[in-house]
C-alpha cells in the first residue's frame, strides 16, 4: 500500500499562519494512525516539499488559504483544484508558490501523490506572534475532523485515543529529554 502523509504547512511564528501545525498537534493528541502514515509539521518548506511528495500515495495537507470568506472558514480542495487548469483563477494557499510549483515539477517528473486533500482555513492575522486569533483557533476542532474524514476517504485506518495526550506548545517539543536547572543551579522542577 502506498504511503500516506498528513502534512502541516505554515510558520508558527506568524500568528494564524501557524494554523496548520496547530491542527496537526490537535490531531496527534486525539488520534492514532498506523506506522505507514507519516504525520509531520513541515513549516514553510517551499520547493523542499518535493522529497515529501515525490513518491507519496495520498496526502492530507493542512494550511491557511486565501479566500473571500470570513476568518476561520474551512475550505476543502482536491488535487485537481491545486494543479488543474481550473486552478488558474482560484487563489489557494498563501504557500501557493511552494505547493503548486512542487506539484507541477513532480508532474513533469512523472511522480507525485495520486491524491491530495487540502484542508484550508482562512486566516485573520498573519503578523509576528505565537497566538492564533480567536476565530481561527475556534476552527481547529472542525479541521481535525476534516483530517479524520480525509483519511477515512483514503481508506486509511485512524483511531481515537482513549486518553488524549496532554497539550503542549510546539516549542516544548524537546523538553524533558535533558536535565534542566534554573539560574541558581537547582533542578528546574524542584
Amino acid at each position: 500500500m502506498p504511503a500516506t502523509y498528513v502534512l502541516a504547512l505554515g510558520n508558527v511564528l506568524m500568528s494564524d499562519d501557524g494554523l496548520g501545525p496547530a491542527v496537526l498537534r490537535a490531531f496527534d493528541q486525539q488520534y492514532v494512525v498506523g506506522p505507514d502514515v507519516v504525520v509531520e509539521d513541515l513549516g514553510t518548506p517551499g520547493l523542499d516539499l518535493s522529497p515529501w511528495l515525490a513518491d507519496a500515495g495520498q496526502i492530507v495537507l493542512i494550511d491557511t488559504v486565501k479566500a473571500a470568506l470570513p476568518p476561520g472558514s474551512l475550505r476543502l480542495y482536491s488535487k485537481a483544484d491545486l494543479v488543474g487548469r481550473a486552478a488558474a483563477g482560484v487563489r489557494v494557499s498563501p504557500h501557493d508558490p511552494g505547493v503548486k510549483e512542487t506539484l507541477l515539477a513532480l508532474e513533469f517528473a512523472g511522480r507525485g501523490p495520486r491524491d491530495i486533500a487540502l484542508i484550508g482555513i482562512v486566516p485573520e492575522v498573519t503578523t509576528m506572534g505565537l497566538e492564533l486569533s480567536p476565530a481561527v483557533a475556534a476552527a481547529i476542532p472542525t479541521a481535525v475532523l476534516a483530517v479524520v474524514a480525509a483519511l477515512e476517504r483514503f481508506e486509511v485506518p485512524v483511531r481515537r485515543r482513549s486518553e488524549p495526550l496532554a497539550p503542549a506548545p510546539w516549542w516544548n517539543a524537546g523538553a524533558g529529554i535533558l536535565p534542566r536547572t534554573d539560574v541558581a543551579g537547582n533542578p528546574a522542577d524542584a
Partner: protein, 566 residues
C-alpha cells in the same frame, strides 16, 4: 536614453525580493535591492529561556531551519563559555553537511539552472549524441541514450499539450540562452534525477536530527542523541551505517553529475566569468569544529579585501574578537526608526515604513558591514578564503574545476575568474564537493570516538546571575550567519540574527556604499529590457533566501517585471 526595470517579485527564491535597475545602451548602470518583508522576528525571543531559543530561531525560515538552530545554540554556549562534547560536534557537523548538500543541489537544479538551460531547446536534442557527450564527461550510470530519449519524449508530451507546468515562466528562446540542445537535454535529465538526492540528504538529517525539516536533537551544551550501539532506540551501528551509505550516494551524484554539469554549462557561458563580480571583499567564518572548545576547525574562515587572495586575515575560533568587534548593521536606507549603524548587541528593531525611495529608505533589510566595509558572503567567499589559506581539499577541487571547465571552453582559467556571476555557481559546487568528502571524514571521526567508548553528548549549561553576551556563527549554505544574544538572569534580553542574505541583499549604507547584489548588477548586459534574464542570473547566483519572516503573501506566483523609459 536609459530604461528603468523593476523585477518584483524575483521568483524561484525564498521570500519577497524586489530588484530595480537602470539600463543604458544594454548595460546596467545602477541597481537597487529591496527586501519587501519586515523581519523583526528576534523580538519574539525577548524574556525567553535561552535554552529554548534555537526551537524558535529554526522557524525563522522554512528552508534554512537547521542553520538557525545551530547558530543559536552556539551563541548561548559562547555566552556561557560552555564546551561541547566531541560526539555532539561531529553529529552537528554531519547534520550541517547533509543540510548544505541538500540546499546546494536544490539551488542549482531547481532554482537557478533554468536561467541558463532552455528546456524547450532540449526537444531538438539527439539523445544518442547527448549520451556520447555525457560519457565524455563522466561515467555516471544515469546517462544512457534510452534515459535521455525517455526524458525528451516526456518533454515533447508536455509541450504538445501546451502545458509546460513548472517551466511556464521560463525565458525560452531568449537571445542570452546559448547551450546546445544536447546540453539542455542533459541538464533537464539531471534536474529530474536530483530529486532523489535531495531526499537522501533529508534522510540523513532525519536520522541524526530526529525529524526534518525541524530537527529535535539539539540542546545548548550538546545534542540529545543518546548513543548505544546495541540499542534500537538510540543512535546505533545500524543507523550510523545507514547515514554512511546515504552520504556515499550523495558524494557520487555530486562528483559525477553536479560537478560535471557546472563545468560544462559554465564553460559554454564563459562570458559570464567576466560579469557580476561586484563587491570583492569577502567574509567567511570557520566551521565544522574538531574539538570541544571550538578552536580548531575543518574549514578556515577569514576576510579578503579588494579580491587580493595574497592577503587574508584569518578568523580562527568561535570567540574570535576580530569577528565579534567588527560586525555592525546600518539602517540609513532601511525602513527602521533612525539612521544608526550599531553593533548587534546594541541594536533594536523598530519598524518605520515609508514609501519606496531609491535615494532614501527602500528596504526592510538592514545593511551589515565589517569594520565599515561591504562584504560578500556565501560559498564564493568561503572557497576564496579557504583557497587563499591553502585549505587542501578546497584548493584541489577549485583547481580541478578550473581545469575541467577550461578544457571544455578551450581556455586557461585562473582563480581570478571566480569573481563573477558564474564564479558563485562554481564555488557552490566546489564547496559541495569538499563537503561531501568531509562528510566521510566526520562520519569516521564520530564512529572512532564512539568506538573508544566515549558516549558523552551533553554538558549541562548553568546560567549565572547578571548579564552575559554571546555570539554564535555558522558558515551556512548562503554564507556567514551570526546570532547575537544578551542574557540577563537566565533570560534573553536581546537577540539579533545577522543572516547571509542580509549581508548580500542589503541596501546602501550611510556612506551610500551599495550592497553586494546592487554592486554585482552594475555592468551586467541586458539584451531585452522586456525580459531581463541577465539580471535574474546574477541575483540568483547569490542563492537569495530572505524568507526569515512571513510566507503569507498575496502573490500569484508569476514573475512581474515592469519597464519604463526614463
Amino acid at each position: 536614453m536609459s530604461t528603468h526595470i523593476t523585477v518584483d517579485p524575483v521568483t524561484r527564491i525564498e521570500g519577497h525580493l524586489r530588484i530595480d535597475v537602470e539600463v543604458d545602451n544594454g548595460v546596467v548602470t545602477k541597481a537597487w535591492s529591496s527586501g519587501q518583508m519586515f523581519r523583526g522576528i528576534e523580538r519574539i525571543l525577548q524574556g525567553r529561556d535561552p535554552r529554548d531559543a534555537w526551537l524558535f530561531t529554526q522557524r525563522f525560515c522554512g528552508v534554512c531551519t537547521t542553520v538557525h538552530a545551530i547558530a543559536s545554540v552556539r551563541a548561548v554556549e559562547n555566552a556561557l563559555h560552555l564546551e561541547i562534547p566531541r560526539n555532539a560536534q561531529y553529529i552537528r557537523n554531519l547534520i550541517v553537511i547533509a543540510h548544505a548538500l541538500h540546499d546546494h543541489i536544490v539551488h542549482f537544479y531547481q532554482l537557478s539552472a533554468l536561467d541558463w538551460v532552455d528546456v524547450v531547446s532540449a526537444l531538438k536534442a539527439d539523445p544518442a549524441k547527448t549520451a556520447t557527450l555525457a560519457a565524455s564527461l563522466s561515467d555516471w550510470p544515469g546517462n544512457s541514450t534510452s534515459q535521455f530519449q525517455a526524458v525528451k519524449d516526456r518533454l515533447a508530451g508536455f509541450v504538445a499539450k501546451g502545458q509546460l507546468g513548472i517551466f511556464t515562466n521560463g525565458y525560452w528562446g531568449h537571445p542570452a540562452m546559448k547551450l546546445a540542445p544536447e546540453v539542455n537535454l542533459l541538464a533537464v535529465s539531471h534536474y529530474l534525477q536530483a530529486l532523489d538526492y535531495q531526499r537522501k540528504a533529508n534522510q540523513v538529517v532525519a536520522i541524526l536530527g530526529g525529524k526534518t525539516p525541524n530537527i529535535q536533537n539539539l540542546a545548548v551544551g550538546g545534542v540529545a542523541n543518546a548513543i548505544n550501539l546495541d540499542n534500537d532506540a538510540t543512535l546505533n551501528m545500524a543507523k550510523l551505517y545507514q547515514v554512511k551509505s546515504l552520504l556515499d550516494e550523495m558524494k557520487a551524484f555530486i562528483e559525477q553529475v553536479y560537478f560535471v554539469d557546472v563545468c560544462a554549462i559554465g564553460a559554454m557561458y564563459a562570458d559570464w566569468l567576466k560579469v557580476g563580480a561586484g563587491v570583492t571583499n569577502y567574509l567567511s567564518v570557520p566551521d565544522l569544529p574538531l574539538d570541544e572548545k571550538g578552536v580548531t576547525f575543518e574549514f578556515p574562515g577569514g576576510t579578503i579585501f579588494d579580491g587580493d587572495l595574497t592577503r587574508v586575515t584569518p578568523i580562527t575560533t568561535f570567540g574570535d574578537p576580530y569577528f565579534q568587534k567588527n560586525v555592525s548593521e546600518s539602517i540609513a536606507h532601511s525602513w527602521y526608526d533612525g539612521d544608526w549603524q550599531r553593533h548587534p548587541y546594541e541594536e533594536d528593531t523598530v519598524p518605520k515604513y515609508s514609501k519606496y525611495d531609491a535615494d532614501g529608505k527602500y528596504s526592510w533589510i538592514k545593511a551589515p558591514r565589517f569594520d565599515g566595509h561591504v562584504m560578500q558572503v556565501g560559498p564564493l567567499a568561503q572557497v576564496l578564503v579557504g583557497f587563499a589559506q591553502g585549505h587542501e581539499p578546497t584548493k584541489r577541487w577549485a583547481v580541478k574545476t578550473l581545469a575541467t571547465a577550461g578544457k571544455i571552453a578551450g581556455a586557461t582559467l585562473t582563480p581570478a575568474v571566480l569573481h563573477s556571476t558564474l564564479g558563485r555557481h562554481a564555488a557552490r559546487m566546489i564547496r559541495c564537493c569538499v563537503l561531501s568528502e568531509l562528510a566521510g571524514k566526520h562520519w569516521s571521526l564520530l564512529a572512532e570516538n564512539i568506538g573508544k567508548g566515549d558516549t558523552t553528548i551533553f554538558n549541562e549549561p548553568v546560567f549565572p546571575k547578571g548579564e552575559q553576551q554571546g555570539f554564535g556563527f555558522h558558515e551556512a549554505p548562503r554564507g556567514t550567519l551570526s546570532h547575537w544574544v544578551v542574557i540577563e538572569d537566565g533570560k534573553i534580553k536581546n537577540y539579533q540574527a545577522v543572516v547571509p542574505s542580509t549581508w548580500n541583499a542589503g541596501p546602501r549604507d550611510a556612506k551610500n556604499q551599495p550592497g553586494p547584489y546592487e554592486a554585482s548588477l552594475v555592468g551586467n548586459p541586458v539584451a531585452d529590457t522586456e525580459r531581463p534574464l541577465e539580471v535574474i542570473r546574477t541575483v540568483h547566483s547569490f542563492d537569495p533566501c530572505i524568507a526569515c519572516a512571513i510566507h503569507t503573501l498575496d502573490v500569484d506566483g508569476n514573475e512581474v517585471s515592469r519597464v519604463r523609459a526614463l
